[in-house]
């Protein structure tokens, strides 16, 4: 069992309160992603699990035992850092075996564990190289190997892919997921990249200002965001968040959805239809301000007569008919609308 549990955890730096009353339960073998904007305390949360940050109040339980006072080494947790943090003076072999050697593991076991990990990650040819002789992807793989070799209670990842190029990031993403599924080790993964969050996590905790704004599966977060923060954060391009009447004023068909005109409306870009009335309610015209043609899909940025900026996502073929500056008709599907309370931003429907 290697469940990780926060019970009312708080973290202060002097008078500055970073996290207050934080509760989270990460199940044994689960892949939990902490996602949020810079400064939301996701890395601090991860570092508290690692033991690299002291917990000011509350309780952290790892495998059912209180871990607040345990040193990082006593928690049997491995961490992969954003900068990989490989030891520059050591070869790949020495990097991989460092944790075992400082724990005085016998040399035969060290050798066999190094063989096991190098086999799993395909590091066989790199064992005698120094970190400076590795590419970004190779260095990342060595960091993964170093994390795996001790068979830890949990893996912690602190934005491990942010230094890689787009192609390698996709590849490494797959390798991390595969490794986690194979080992079934509890994993906590911090990222600000929502694509990583959506594609990797069993569950995602969306964080802001030291609080969890929503905890759920990627599908739940996307389909039923609990508040305007999550609605705006999850999904790219972000959800169109509108005040009532932003579309057509008093005769706005969406006004009825928003409770007593006090609610905010959320429309995912793919639910805003351009030049199409395919069973949707027309919501007037808008001028195309910019088109981003991504090939398989087109993002159309619009501004309507009330000055409201909107983004629509459509299939690639529309790029042939719609041009920047052109006025187009808009429609939306009511069954896909989200509504939120204006004052608190909480979901209404």
């Amino acid at each position: 069992m290697s469940e990780i549990r926060f019970r009312g955890v708080g973290k202060h730096y002097g008078d500055v309160e970073v996290i207050t009353g934080f509760d989270l339960r990460i199940h044994d073998g689960e892949f939990m992603v902490l996602v949020g904007p810079s400064g939301c305390a996701k890395s601090t949360t991860l570092r508290m699990i690692a033991g690299l940050e002291r917990i000011t109040s509350g309780e952290l339980l790892i495998a059912g035992k209180r871990a607040n006072e345990l040193l990082p080494a006593e928690r049997n947790i491995s961490m992969v850092f954003q900068s990989y943090a490989l030891f520059p003076n050591m070869s790949v072999r020495e990097n991989l075996s460092f944790g075992l050697r400082v724990r005085k593991t016998d040399s035969a076991t060290v050798a066999s564990e190094v063989d096991r990990v190098t086999g799993l990650l395909g590091l066989g040819d790199l064992l005698d190289r120094k970190p400076r002789q590795l590419s970004g992807g190779q260095a990342q793989r060595v960091a993964l190997g170093r994390a795996m070799i001790r068979k830890p209670n949990a893996f912690l990842f602190d934005e491990p892919l942010s230094n890689l190029d787009a192609e390698l990031r996709v590849q490494m993403r797959g390798e991390i997921i595969e490794m986690q599924r194979k080992l079934s080790t509890t994993t906590v993964y911090v990222t600000h990249d929502q694509v990583e969050a959506m594609t990797m996590g069993d569950r995602i905790a969306v964080m802001n200002k030291g609080c969890i704004m929503q905890l759920g599966s990627p599908t739940e977060l996307y389909r039923r965001p609990a508040n305007t923060f999550v609605a705006g954060f999850i999904g790219s391009p972000r959800m169109n968040l509108l005040e009532p009447g932003d579309l057509l004023g008093d005769c706005d068909p969406t006004v009825g959805i928003a409770h007593d005109r006090t609610g905010k409306l959320g429309i995912r870009p793919e639910h805003l239809l351009v030049e199409s009335d395919d069973g949707a309610v027309p919501i007037g015209d808008a001028r195309v301000t910019r088109i981003e043609d991504l090939g398989h899909e087109v993002l159309i940025h619009l501004r309507n007569a009330r000055g409201t900026s909107l983004t629509a996502r459509t299939g690639g073929r529309i790029a042939e008919t719609v041009q920047s500056g052109q006025t187009v008709s808009l429609a939306l599907r009511f069954d896909c609308l989200h509504s939120f309370e204006t004052a608190t931003g909480e979901r209404l429907t």
């Binding site: 690692a50 900068s83 943090a85 520059p88 460092f98």
Partner: protein, 285 residues
């Protein structure tokens, strides 16, 4: 010739001229700073008569008599050996204290860190004699007076602040995540220091050791104050050629040349480390 070509030619000419000035200025500075060394070296190769000639002789018959005289001069040989011992102890002592101290300063949240930093600089700037006078009685009382260990210990007053300051900047260049990764792997602070920090900062450690060795080897004021006969260093050995009524210029200059040879060789051999160490982190890769 086109206007562009003329401009390009003028630009090249200006660049060459400024380069020539730079070389000329540097050359003049090198000559200026090396002239005393040349003068001492030339005197060491002159006979007594040639050495005292007025006006000075620029062309003379060199002699090795002064160097041969050193060979039979027991005091000089003894002080030379003392310097090797004191420098060895002093450098070892300074590194063994400064390395852990620099690690603590850089990596641990310590109260009064800024005050400590200011104290380091202040201690480095104070004149050596300031420490000699109050220490004289204490050294006599504790038995450290005129001993190798006592002298090496006193030198720490000067070399430790410099060493801690230098090593702190070298250690500060190491990504803190490496330290954290090692802690996660189960390493103690001592293991992190010895297995990661020191090997990663080897050029910096070497540069610090070399600078300390040079300073200790050349020191005179503390050596005068805290030694009498048993632990006298080579800087005092050089002055032993001064009598009550006369100075043996030839032997004294030969002794000076011999005295600077070890540090000169040390500096030449380790120049790569010194430059690498002192520029460590100056340019981010």
């Amino acid at each position: 010739m086109s206007a562009a070509a003329a401009v390009s030619r003028r630009y090249r000419l200006t660049a060459r001229l400024s380069q020539a000035w730079a070389y000329a200025f540097t050359g003049a500075m090198v000559l200026f700073s090396l002239f005393p060394v040349y003068w001492v070296f030339a005197t060491s190769l002159k006979t007594k008569r040639d050495g005292l000639a007025n006006p000075p002789l620029w062309i003379f018959d060199p002699t090795q008599a002064n160097y041969l005289k050193l060979w039979s001069h027991d005091t000089f040989k003894f002080t030379f050996l003392n310097s090797i011992i004191v420098t060895g102890i002093g450098v070892a002592l300074s590194l063994s204290i400064a390395i852990p101290a620099a690690y603590v300063i850089v990596r641990m949240k310590m109260r009064g860190r800024r005050f400590f930093g200011a104290w380091l600089i202040l201690a480095y700037m104070l004149p050596e004699f300031l420490f000699v006078l109050p220490m004289f009685s204490l050294y006599q009382w504790t038995g450290l007076y005129d001993t190798h260990a006592g002298l090496a210990l006193m030198y720490q007053v000067h070399v430790l602040p410099l060493s801690i300051w230098l090593l702190s900047s070298f250690f500060g260049e190491i990504d803190f995540a490496i330290d954290e990764a090692a802690r996660m792997e189960g390493a103690t602070h001592w293991q992190i220091l010895t297995k990661i920090y020191v090997p990663c900062s080897l050029p910096g450690v070497a540069a610090t050791a070399i600078l300390n060795a040079i300073w200790i080897w050349n020191e005179l004021a503390i050596a005068i104050g805290l030694t009498f006969s048993r632990a006298q260093t080579v800087t005092l050995g050089v002055t032993s050629f001064r009598g009550y009524a006369a100075l043996d210029w030839g032997a004294m200059t030969a002794a000076s040349i011999i005295a600077i040879v070890p540090m000169l060789l040390f500096a030449v051999v380790a120049q790569k480390h010194i430059v690498k160490g002192l520029t460590l982190g100056a340019v981010k890769g």
